[in-house]
């Protein structure tokens, strides 16, 4: 199988799983226990937190281990439910569902949701974000690297604009980013970005499932109550095996970040070049921009209208290539990705969109085989539907 769905989950890095197994066996104590095995586990936990804080360039007290990106995002959004009065949130219209859906819950509870639409290039405008912030605004949430288009938002600019606006109106605003698709792949320096919180996940870069990180500059009220772990923000006995594996995956990721980045970029170039001769291909966003620096070199979305993405994905799967799609035939109506709708992608193009994502062990040959198979299958189907 040629696996081109790394943005869904990366193939596990055996070394990280070995770390997890080792921790599970050797350091099985509960970090809250006061005996020797407990203390040993507590010290491993402290070291793990420090390691992550060095990678993110933040204080170790600002690192909260969670069960993954979705939980990290939910902690931030659900925190607002504890505020006495509903206000407004400013959210990009192309968030992952773990932001998009909790925000819907806020809306039900009387919050005003101000969506920020990206341009056709999948990027949002910092001035647009700032202009939507007022004295009712509690939170700005922006996805750092979009999981469908790979668009990397200009977070530094956005933070600067929002902070400036915040000073003018004399009202502090919490800025959250979802950096799940960036972690270990694209540089994320928390100090440089200046955000208040950020979400990360372990399994997108070869770590295990069920572990993630929430960077949190200052403590916030949360809905969870329990044994006080993770500074009471995320109670529950710590998943130490997964945490140590995550640390290993993240360390490996950042150590070779540039090398992997360059390699991934070369694969993307190869892909874009090869795709250009496949009939009916549409790049989302346009071919002219996808190779620019403001897009992840690990993700590409393409479309072959009128072939439904669901069908193309199935055919590719049968020929040994795994890709993904956010669109489907649902009850005779087209269900299309909210990210692509927000970008104003024409319905037919969005309905046919597949996402290709790769990683450090993807080879040039994988890309070439994919291109060959894709070209054959699209060629066959296009002749039928044209």
């Amino acid at each position: 199988m040629i696996y081109l769905d790394w943005a869904a989950t990366a193939p596990p890095d055996r070394e990280c799983l070995d770390v997890a197994l080792n921790t599970a066996v050797e350091t099985f104590g509960n970090p809250s226990s006061l005996h020797t095995p407990g203390k040993k586990a507590a010290s491993v936990l402290i070291e793990s937190r420090k390691a992550i804080s060095r990678i993110l360039d933040c204080a170790s007290s600002q690192v909260i281990f969670t069960s993954g990106g979705s939980e990290s995002n939910n902690i931030i959004i659900s925190s607002l439910l504890l505020k006495g009065k509903a206000g407004s949130v400013v959210v990009s219209a192309m968030e992952h569902s773990s932001i998009h859906k909790p925000v819907g819950l806020l809306k039900q509870r009387g919050w005003e949701v101000r969506w920020i639409k990206p341009g056709a290039d999948g990027l949002i405008d910092s001035a647009d974000v700032a202009s939507k912030v007022d004295e009712t605004t509690a939170l700005v949430a922006i996805i750092h690297t979009n999981n469908e288009t790979g668009a990397v938002q200009p977070i530094v600019e956005i933070v600067e604009a929002v902070r400036k606006r915040s000073t003018v109106i004399g009202h502090p605003v919490h800025i959250h980013i979802d950096a799940v698709q960036s972690f270990g792949k694209i540089e994320v320096n928390i100090a440089a970005l200046g955000v208040d919180s950020a979400s990360f996940s372990g399994h997108k870069l070869g770590g295990p499932r069920g572990v993630g990180i929430l960077f949190l500059k200052k403590s916030i009220p949360v809905l969870y109550r329990g044994g006080g772990q993770e500074t009471a923000l995320r109670p529950g006995t710590e998943n130490l095996p997964a945490v140590t594996a995550l640390v290993r995956a993240a360390t490996k990721g950042v150590t070779s970040l540039q090398e992997h980045y360059d390699y991934a970029y070369s694969l993307k170039q190869r892909l874009v070049k090869g795709l250009s001769s496949v009939p009916s291909v549409h790049f989302i966003p346009d071919r002219d921009v996808v190779l620019q620096k403001s897009y992840s070199p690990y993700i590409l979305t393409i479309s072959f209208p009128p072939i439904p993405a669901e069908v193309l994905q199935r055919v590719l799967n049968d020929r040994g290539v795994a890709v993904s799609t956010g669109s489907a035939c649902a009850s005779k109506k087209h269900r299309i990705s909210h990210v692509l709708s927000a970008m104003g992608t024409p319905e037919e193009t969005a309905f046919s969109a597949i996402r290709v994502s790769w990683g450090k062990t993807t080879t040039e040959e994988d890309i070439d085989i994919f291109l060959k198979i894709l070209s054959e299958e699209v060629g066959k189907m296009i002749s039928i539907f044209r």
């Binding site: 439904p308 669901e310 009850s331």
Partner: protein, 392 residues
């Protein structure tokens, strides 16, 4: 301990000379429904009696409510043929009913054994009086009783209280065999249910257009046939690989007629399957004018490609009425799962709603699909869903 169910059969008892034929089918169907559990089925003078071990009673109760031909049934008690025994059990049943909240009651007696020394009126009066004395919480209401005690004096004496509604209709297989066009939608399972209710034994056919329809869509149809099987006394589903004919129609047929031409091809396969399976009818879930291929003109064209009667039990129904039945028989939740046929790909943007009879027939013939359809039917996969459901 044994549990006895007494079963009333309604319409079958009106069947005059053919009555024994219907009764025999019903008996077979009840026996098959409970294959694998200890059940005896007896048929005496217009009543069926099903006896089982107490532990299986809930399973049997559920099963009986799915066997067509049964109008109602009740958990019954066989007692000795004397007033003292009747009195004893009547008071016990009345006590239970009162504990479950009944406040008023009535006694209904039928005496088909005229040798019994009391007539129906006398039995009602006597037993009613005894119950009133024994159970002070109960009072008599002969018009709208909250609980009714039934006493039947036959070769033996049977007592029963609450009656449970059966599905009615006629025993499956008493009206021959039919081929049901089953899709993953809401309508066709309901059509199958309704025709089985009139005694038709069904085989189902599903047209699978992989990769344009997903394996999940196929699984959904298999799941639907499993839900239907207890009502249909078991169900053979024939999954016909339909991609090749579908593509041929898309490629060669006039754009606006793609859907109706596809329906004709399906009808042709159903007809061929009917011949193979010795079936005398085709069943579809069409409702008049619901979609382009279900207008009067379209139905005329598709129907003209088979010499078998095409039963369309939903033809005059609204969607709400169909959904209500789908909910009742438990297919609705599965039918609305999102794995739909990806027919958006094949459906024309502006489908013809009033096909010209001669022209469309001609267009279909020009496609020369016969050989392809024959091959498709030969390659069909058969999935059998058993009638009995002993998993619970």
């Amino acid at each position: 301990m044994k549990t006895l169910f007494l079963i009333k059969i309604g319409e079958i008892s009106l069947k005059g000379g053919n009555r024994s034929f219907f009764e025999k089918k019903l008996k077979e169907n009840i026996k098959n429904r409970f294959r694998g559990i200890p059940v005896t089925v007896k048929n005496r003078r217009g009543r069926f009696y099903v006896e089982t071990e107490e532990q299986f009673a809930p399973l049997v109760q559920e099963g009986l409510s799915q066997v067509f031909g049964i109008v109602s049934f009740a958990r019954s008690f066989e007692v000795e043929k004397n007033m003292e025994s009747i009195r004893k059990v009547s008071c016990r049943l009345a006590g239970e009913a009162a504990r479950q909240g009944a406040g008023t009651f009535k006694v209904e007696a039928r005496r088909s054994d005229k040798n019994f020394p009391f007539n129906s009126m006398e039995i009602c009066r006597e037993i009613g009086h005894d119950v009133l004395e024994a159970i002070p919480a109960l009072s008599v209401d002969v018009h709208k009783p909250e609980w009714q005690l039934n006493i039947e004096i036959r070769d033996r004496v049977y007592l029963y209280g609450r009656q449970i509604k059966g599905p009615g209709g006629l025993p499956v297989s008493s009206a021959g065999r039919g081929i049901l066009l089953l899709s993953g939608g809401i309508d066709s399972p309901v059509a199958g249910y309704l025709m089985a209710k009139r005694g038709l034994k069904l085989d189902a056919v599903y047209f699978h257009t992989y990769p344009y329809t997903s394996d999940e869509a196929k699984q959904k149809v298999i799941d639907l046939s499993r839900i239907l099987a207890p009502y249909l006394a078991g169900l053979n589903l024939f999954i016909v690989p339909f991609t090749e004919p579908q593509l041929a129609i898309k490629k060669k047929g006039p754009e606006a007629e793609v859907t109706i031409l596809m329906r004709i091809a399906m009808m042709r396969i159903a007809q061929a399957l009917a011949h193979q399976r010795n079936a005398g009818a085709i069943v579809t879930g069409e409702a008049l004018s619901q979609v382009a291929s279900q207008t009067t003109e379209s139905i005329r064209v598709t129907g003209s490609f088979t010499d078998l009667p095409v039963f369309r039990p939903l033809i005059g129904m609204d969607k709400e009425e169909i959904i209500a039945i789908a909910r009742k028989i438990g297919t609705f939740e599965t039918s609305i799962l999102p794995h739909d046929d990806c027919c958006t790909l094949f459906a024309p943007k502006r489908p013809v709603t009033r096909p010209k009879y001669e022209a469309t027939r001609e267009h279909y013939k020009e496609l020369c699909l016969d050989e392809m359809l024959e091959k498709a039917l030969n390659d069909a996969e058969r999935v059998y869903s058993r009638v009995e459901n002993l998993e619970k």
